[in-house]
Symmetry: C2
Subunit: 310 residues, 2 copies
């Protein structure tokens, strides 16, 4: 059994799900909570999952990082709109040679975290998970759950597959979480944006589900144009997304069940949107390298307006 | 007194207003109506105007162009979404050497009309009018009313100020309608698009009034970027819009009273949007000349989706 101690910062639909899976197989997990702290410290976590429901009546719950033990792996499972808190949250809870595992969408987060905790290793995780928090400490896992891990190195240079990645993958696989290891975190992040930018963005601006965006010839064209701009953005940072990947994403979404994106759910629930991580950062990265992404820029400005008004 | 006979195709907020003003000063005006025909043929037109209310108890009303006399000047005052009807509406009503006066928004309409009635002169009119139809044959004029006239020549080459323009201007001025004559219709059309594309488009997509679009830094930036794309579009057709004009439009809109654009009103009332004339045609004109307008293209695709769903 692993000796690694895990911290979960953000015990919601994602952090609560993965953290509970890790604890269920005997790993030492410590959960940071905010509004659900009282409930979870008294009653633990409930996970309803298509892979089998389970309950953890007793978990290590905290409402303050200062009370948490130093951990080997600190999982960042907050919404990126909370990332301004990380400079206070991370230093007390991560061991000197530990790992911060960023299970968030968007671009550039690992870089920000590496600036906060400079002796720590930063690993990015791209999650394909469909789950909701349906009450305090109560998570409903609907589908998927796969994570692709890639380790960050300065300037997003390619570092390959490290021992740390292998060790963490082992723990997650023990917990029956499907893991893939990627040699190039940055390429993985840009590839995920191929889906996230058009569908998250347009679903909010046009008040539409994925199936509506794909059924209409005009939005289908716009989605594709946006995907090609993401490809151009990746290219500006030296990463190549093949056209075949774009076609696969379009086909895959055509065949998907009608889906309300996470950004649309946030918008409908009047929560702040993850615009900066998902749209703003990729846009600025490319612009800084002299590549203009005008349609993503349009979407960014529209989303910022709607987010501000919401 | 002018001998010119006028036809008004589309007796709504705009055609009804200008036509009534012309008849009021004694000109011979013939109105084509559809849903309001019964009401107007029996009771005439009522105009409430900031410049003075008036009633025309008796007007020449028609529900069929075949019953109308041949006219010297046929005013097209339909929404552009009805322009597929023009190939049937125009030939019966316009004299051989007559004029079609297009009081519509957008680009490329004169060209389409010149193809329909090839021995007829086509003049474009850019209207700055704020009026509503508040009931059958009942128009409320709120503000403005100015028209800029420019004559169309094949390929939008500059034809200067013609006698026909001067004669029509005389009739309109007699009717107390402010008129300006433009030597370059195409430049005038593109300049009007500097305002129409961003504000009409974004007001629908973002469900916002002009003041909201200008109060937010992100949409203000996007409006400006769209204006510069309109400038690039004009440039592709050899017309130069000075930057100072863009700044004037921004300042002017900043100072305007909160305004719901005509496209937004159409959208809210579930009427078809004038997307093709105002956004699609300019986009395609520029594209045909090798100039891509990506942010206008985004807006176009978004509007087509919303229009289709509405």
């Amino acid at each position: 059994m692993s000796e690694r101690k895990y911290a979960i910062l953000g015990t919601g639909a994602l952090g609560g799900f993965y953290g509970a899976k890790l604890q269920k197989v005997g790993l030492d997990v410590h959960f940071l909570l905010k509004s659900d702290y009282e409930q979870v410290s008294q009653n633990g976590l409930i996970v309803e999952s298509k892979d089998g429901d389970f309950t953890l009546p007793q978990v290590n719950a905290y409402n303050d990082v200062a009370k948490m033990p130093k951990c080997d792996v600190v999982v960042v499972a907050l919404k990126t709109t909370q990332n301004h808190l990380l400079s206070k949250l991370l230093p007390p809870v991560v061991k000197d040679d530990g790992v911060v595992l960023v299970l968030q969408n968007g671009l550039g987060i690992e870089e920000e975290i590496a600036d906060i905790v400079d002796k720590v290793h930063v690993i990015g995780g791209l999650c394909f998970l469909c789950s909701n928090k349906i009450g305090a400490g109560h998570i409903r896992h609907l589908d998927y759950g796969h994570i692709t891990l890639g380790e960050y190195a300065a300037g997003y240079s390619t570092i390959g597959i490290t021992d740390r990645m292998v060790q963490i993958a082992h723990d997650f696989q023990t917990a029956e979480i499907s893991i893939e290891l990627a040699e190039d975190l940055l390429l993985g992040r840009w590839k995920k944006l191929v889906w996230n930018i058009p569908y998250n963005g347009l679903s909010v601006v046009l008040n539409a589900r994925t199936d509506e965006l794909m059924a209409d010839t005009y939005t289908r064209t716009l989605v594709k144009q946006l995907m090609y701009e993401v490809k151009a953005g990746a290219n500006s940072m030296g990463r190549t997304i093949p056209d075949s990947f774009i076609h696969t994403m379009l086909d895959y979404t055509m065949k998907m069940k009608p889906y309300r994106t996470s950004m649309k759910i946030d918008y409908d629930e009047c929560r702040p949107l993850e615009v900066e991580a998902i749209v703003g950062n990729p846009l600025r990265k490319a612009q800084a390298l002299g590549v203009n992404l005008p349609q993503i820029s349009s979407l960014y400005h529209q989303l910022k307006f709607l987010d501000g008004r919401n």
